[in-house]
Symmetry: C2
């Protein structure tokens, strides 16, 4: 009774599918044993950090008793780390003008997104986002008085529906938020799609007199398959912002290190950066964690072993093929987003059928896209391979 | 031009006094040399972390290449660290029932306060706070749609004005936020004051039918002088919450580790904790930084050398006495909050007079308390002692 705010009480009541799967999974693991549950519900990277992380941490430990060793630094982050990261991103984003002054280090991509929304959203502003989308985006937008407006992607391919996005733009549209490689679909948007999106936003911003920011959330940029390229967004649209993290590429998810990079070509980019530095401070992050920042400075360019994910992707594709479940092969990230088998689009019913066989997945409804379901490849290859029969049994039971 | 939201653009325009002092200080340091500027503006602890921090960091580094070494953990934080902290706080707060399930580890106290306000504030809810107060509180409350309602403390002593607080309570009052030992005054509230405050809130909550939370922000609890005791808040009022951090006690300010402890005696405390775990996640913190959590688990109970602050306090008292500036001797924390000399209450004018002598302070107006100014003891004792003449010159010039 009146313990929480009305909004947060509502959130808890409709708590996320991922969390419910997590809890159901705990029960199943107790009942059947850890090794007999095939848990594809959580995107918690299970690979060890690269060796340089441990080496760098020893070096940091050697200086731990210096004054200010872990004291406050500028709210944007250590200048050294920002310099290293700026040089890296300037190449990756094909934006030579990108310098440390265009970066704010953040508590992961999630902290970066919250800081950005706090900085730019006026009450009632809209954030347009292709669906399916990362389930937390809705919270991040509502935290700061905004409204998430999902636009379904092209069914089957999950490419951007540019006409749909154009139709969703209003005078209140403040941000278009994309995520490529995409969680949950594994789609990577093409340079052509992104260029057309930029042109669309350019025209709309001119019409309304207020810029629409194109925000590209890219925590999975490092993980693509078959030589796919993730096109840089910054060269395509002046009012663009790239947000990333090292949770997956360096297996540092719990230490919380990410960044916001503002396009140097953006008129008044210094004002936006000043706003981001302020919101990073006042939201209570203050700065990205000191030790994580230093680890990033030392380990940037290194990464986890990607061949592991390649093998897992192949294993999961084989399992789904054998179970006659249809899917689009992910181009990047570590998820599959297959379709519910047969003519049904009842994703929660199929996820329950999977759970009856000790397979944990997340219904597409949780990502604003009923009819599909998400499988995360954060378990060893042999777990994937051993799950084959369970998938087959779930399909048989579901279609019976 | 429409770069930031209206509210954040306004924040930037009226950017905080502390920040302006920081920038002015940079200019002075360039002009006169670092050693000729007496910088009492920033509360950035300059003491080295205790030796155990470096030792623990080496141990953490040894396990850095384990899978999940720095992966996601429960949003409330590592259970091990929460167990150690709960045992510590159960004693400190004289609340034996306090267990790990009553704690959420947060990105410093700032992250804890933001998570709490996100969890409990409905739009327009009011947070009553004794003035002077930590300048960031206003932002933390407004981030989540609330309104900060300052109540001046007793002039001179900075004890709680309980009648003033009673008069400020309305049907919209959701939180009373106290900070003891206080930044900026160094005041420590007595057990009697806190007990009366609890009774006041008990009566008010009964009247309105909605509990008012008593939130005690205690990052300076570890630092008191002359044997002063900081009374525990939890035994005095059921709807109480303690928020703390290890930024100062372990000199880990940049690594961002703190906590929220919910009173086990609070009816429905599990609901509030569920809300805090959710808001920790959706605000983008996700969890307190993994490495900082582990450092806390290893180093809790250790601390920086407090005798350093004792000597600095004595040195500053001598400097102020010699300059005939009146002040209340701080009982805790590392600040003085003296009064503007003479009959003037123009704190910004006196801070400018100090700056003319290369002394950096923050006007009390920045803390909701004109007529005073804040001096932080985060510089070596010899800097304090060498500043004596500059203070005298500033007073002479100001009174002339």
């Amino acid at each position: 009774m009146h313990t929480l705010s009305t909004q947060v009480a509502g959130y808890i009541e409709h708590s996320s599918w991922i969390r419910r799967m997590f809890e159901a999974g705990m029960v199943l693991k107790k009942k059947y044993g850890q090794e007999n549950v095939y848990d594809f519900s959580l995107g918690n990277p299970d690979l060890a950090p690269p060796a340089i992380v441990g080496q760098a941490l020893h070096q940091i430990a050697d200086t731990a008793t210096n004054a200010f060793a872990f004291g406050y630094m500028p709210n944007a982050g250590y200048l050294d780390t920002r310099k290293v990261l700026a040089a890296y991103l300037a190449k990756e984003q094909e934006t030579p003008a990108l310098g440390p002054e265009h970066l704010v280090l953040t508590c992961g991509a999630a902290g970066g997104l919250n800081g950005l929304f706090r900085a730019v959203l006026d009450p009632g502003d809209e954030v347009v986002c292709p669906a399916p989308y990362f389930v937390e985006y809705g919270f991040y937008v509502e935290n700061h008085g905004g409204k998430l407006c999902p636009v379904p992607s092209h069914p089957g391919s999950y490419e951007l529906d540019l006409a749909g996005i154009a139709a969703a733009l209003t005078a209140k549209t403040r941000v278009v938020l994309i995520n490529s490689p995409n969680n949950p679909t594994g789609q990577v948007y093409s340079g052509q799609e992104l260029e057309q999106l930029g042109q669309l936003l350019e025209r709309h911003s001119k019409k309304t007199g207020r810029p629409v920011y194109l925000v590209s959330d890219e925590p999975y940029r490092f993980l693509v398959y078959d030589g796919v390229q993730v096109p840089p967004v910054l060269p395509l649209y002046a009012h663009s912002v790239v947000i990333g993290s090292f949770s997956k590429s360096l297996s540092l998810a719990g230490e919380r290190v990410g960044y916001v990079a503002v396009n140097p070509a953006m008129p008044d980019c210094a004002t936006l950066l000043g706003g981001l530095v302020l919101t990073n401070r006042i939201l209570g992050f203050v700065n990205a964690p000191a030790i994580g920042q230093r680890l990033l400075g030392a380990a940037l360019g290194h990464g986890v072993d990607l061949s592991v994910y390649e093998r897992r992707r192949a294993a999961m594709a084989a399992v789904l093929d054998a179970a006659e479940i249809s899917y689009v092969m992910p181009k990047g990230a570590f998820y599959f987003f297959p379709q519910v088998p047969g003519t049904s689009t009842d994703d929660t019913a199929f996820v329950k059928a999977l759970m009856d066989q000790q397979v944990l997945a997340v219904p597409g409804s949780g990502f604003g896209c009923p009819g599909g379901f998400r499988l995360a490849l954060c378990v060893p290859e042999d777990v994937i391979l051993r799950s084959g029969d369970a998938f087959k049994r779930a399909v048989s039971a579901f279609l019976a």
